[in-house]
Amino acid sequence: MIGIGRREVLTGLTGGILAMAAHAETPSRGGTLTVGLSNDSKTYDPIFSVQYSERYVLYLAFDTLVKYGPDFSIRPELAESWETSPDGKRIVFTLREGVSFQDGTPFDAAAVKWNIDQRLDEKVNSPQRQVLAPIVASVDVVDSRHVAFNLVTPSPVLFSLLGERTGFMVSPTAWQQRGPVFGTQPVGTGAFILKEWTRGMRVVLERNPNYWQKALPYLDRIIVQDLAGSVIGVQRLLTGEIDYVDQLTPTDVLPIETRPGIVLKPITVGRWYFLQWHVNQPPFDNARLRQAFAHAIDRDRLNEITMRGQGTISDGPTPPGLWWYDPMLKSYPHDPARAKALLAEAGHPDGLEFVLSTPQVSVFQQISQLLQEQLGAVGIRLTLQPVAASEWYARVVSGATNLTPTRWTQRADPDGLLYILFHSTGFANTMKYKNEQVDALLAQARTIYDVARRRQLYAEAQRQIVADLPMAPLLFGAEYAALRASVNGFAWVPDQIPRFRDVWKSG
């Protein structure tokens, strides 16, 4: 693991040099970047964050212990380097020197320990606890610059966690002083300081003049402007009211594809879309019925219509381009005749009826209507039930929703998605899927540092999952960020959350 870590750091460096060569211009300081976002944030306290959109602001106001490269590799951030003990159960991080929080509190080993302890503390009740507690037993302060994580088992997963919510370092003094209002007045070590948050309108962040990377950030101010939907952002981008908007589908960007002054940045790894159901309950406990669904769905047509053919059809949870992708894995091909036969074998020769919950997001509405058409053709009649986007996931979690299309962004470690979705104890396993063999494979794979071995275990687990069909895989989406041409230095990380620390404006 130590070796791998170092090699990844090296690739990171060369990548950085190449990126600099591409931008021969030198970055200029100053300016305001206005970001359009459909923002449903509830808190900017990383310890309690659960909403997707919260991370847009969290990555500005906070830094993580480690960060992701453009290929999901783990890179140094607040931790400069780390060493893993021979048994893989103790990791000592060396922290960057001279870093302090925005309120002046020094960032040191004690602060790191406090941050992780908060997440582990049952009384604090952080949503990250259920993921972190099985991995981290305790955290020790070695000296002010060195902090040791004592692990329950060896865990490659820890690094990916420390690059997202669990890794955001919160100022302990500010958190204790501000109490419940910390969520609206957060204090981190980040490149930008949150100045104003008017819900439903905007978040204003100003440059942190004491940022530990002396030249950064380039921008003076970032305004995250609330949008009722991404498409609305396209129009506002054209009028110059905003500089950046993302989560745009290939259809959304049609009017700006050839516009001068607008640059499109396609995401590198697409969100995974699938159709899920309660696999432990009738009628979906019948394997033939699930296969009938899978055979009835025409993934190519879904891709052609909803993604204008720019997505990738999904045969399993992992898209091409990630190291745990298995090119040999194939799901059930489109075959309506076979679907009808399976439906009859499953005891439903006359077909059957379902309610399909569909979140009120254009792409889900489109997918749902196409699914209704395709499944209807083999006798599976769907009634669509639109659910407010804000309410939909809560209903999926509570079990009130059975049949529904879902999507997830990829995580830096295969465990990040596969374990929470498909392990019988995974907290996002709303399909109620339980296969002991899959459980064992996933449990084993998360305790091994050897990538080749892990790849093998995950391939086996994914094969079994796709054969069992606790869901029907659909596709990996195509998405764009659209920027005004004056915005430079933007690059995607595969988790699809934009980072603006290195962004600068020209002219």
Binding site: G229, V231, I232, V234, Q235, T251, D252, L254, P255, R301, E304, I305, R308, T358, Q360, S362, Q365, Q366, S368, Q369, L370, Q372, E373, T383, L384, Q385, P386, A388
Partner: protein
């Protein structure tokens, strides 16, 4: 807005009714069949272009007339079934019942229709049947108030006084004296109610609380087309124009009888 208005209104309504009834004959294509030519601009194949799933917009607008008229007439009928009896009873009887009913009517009139419909619809889950019931429920108070006013006026007339003096039961009085006098008002109010129901249900659909997709529903079509105004504006503007003309037709008829 009397004579010519009535004829224009009647013409509009008749045209829309014909479109609704003859939809299968008039629509050039299956309004629910997706296609791979998405958001195309109008052409000979698709007179109003296609929507985000490649469906023919013209065919969907034509079929949309069915849902619209069903909701309009259905809701107006429900509103009449509640409002007319309440108004008649309140207006014909004296005393406590009238006072109580009048208070209830005033209470409901104070509540804005769209807001009330919004709250109820989200709780009962939108469907064609539920929308008809909810809108009918929202629209009954003005009808009841109107009928009560008319009934009060008629009750004071001499021949009704006479009937009461000779021992006519309230029901008998309502049937033979009050009802015939109220009927024209009710008829005019019916047309106005249809226009209000179509207007309100389209607004609900626009807010995402209409008949669920893939139904060809005008308000919902305006809503989903709103995202693609810069690509194929007809996806939004055509159903929007259809709602406007339908509401206008019924409204003009209702007003011409005032």
């Amino acid at each position: 807005m009397t004579r010519p208005g009535r004829w224009i209104g009647a013409g509009l309504v008749a045209a829309i009714a014909i479109v609704a009834i003859a939809a299968p004959l008039l629509a050039p294509q299956d309004p629910y069949a997706s296609g791979t030519d998405m958001l195309a601009l109008p052409s000979t194949a698709h007179r109003l272009g296609t929507d985000d799933l490649g469906r023919d917009v013209l065919s969907r607008v034509i079929y949309g007339a069915q849902a619209s008229l069903a909701i309009g007439f259905g809701a107006a009928l429900v509103a009449m079934l509640i409002g007319v009896p309440v108004g008649l009873v309140a207006g014909t009887l004296r005393g406590v019942i009238d006072v109580a009913l009048a208070a209830v009517i005033d209470l409901f009139i104070a509540l804005p229709g769209l807001v009330l419909a919004l709250i109820i619809t989200v709780m009962v889950a939108p469907s064609l049947r539920n929308l008809i019931l909810v809108l009918g429920f929202v629209m009954w108070p003005p009808i009841a108030r109107l009928v009560r006013g008319q009934a009060l006026a008629i009750r004071e007339m001499l021949f009704v006084e006479a009937a009461r003096a000779t021992g006519g039961t309230p029901l008998w009085i309502i049937r033979h004296h009050v009802w015939p006098g109220v009927l024209p008002v009710v008829a005019a109010q019916f047309a106005t109610s249809v226009s209000f129901a179509i207007f309100t249900s389209a607004s609900l659909s626009f807010l995402g609380l209409g008949i669920p997709p893939p139904a060809a529903d005008w308000g919902g079509m305006v809503r989903s087309g709103y995202d693609y105004l810069a690509i194929n504006p007809w996806m939004s503007l055509a159903p929007g124009a259809a709602v406007s003309l339908t509401v206008m037709g019924f409204y003009v008829i209702g007003r011409s009888f005032r």
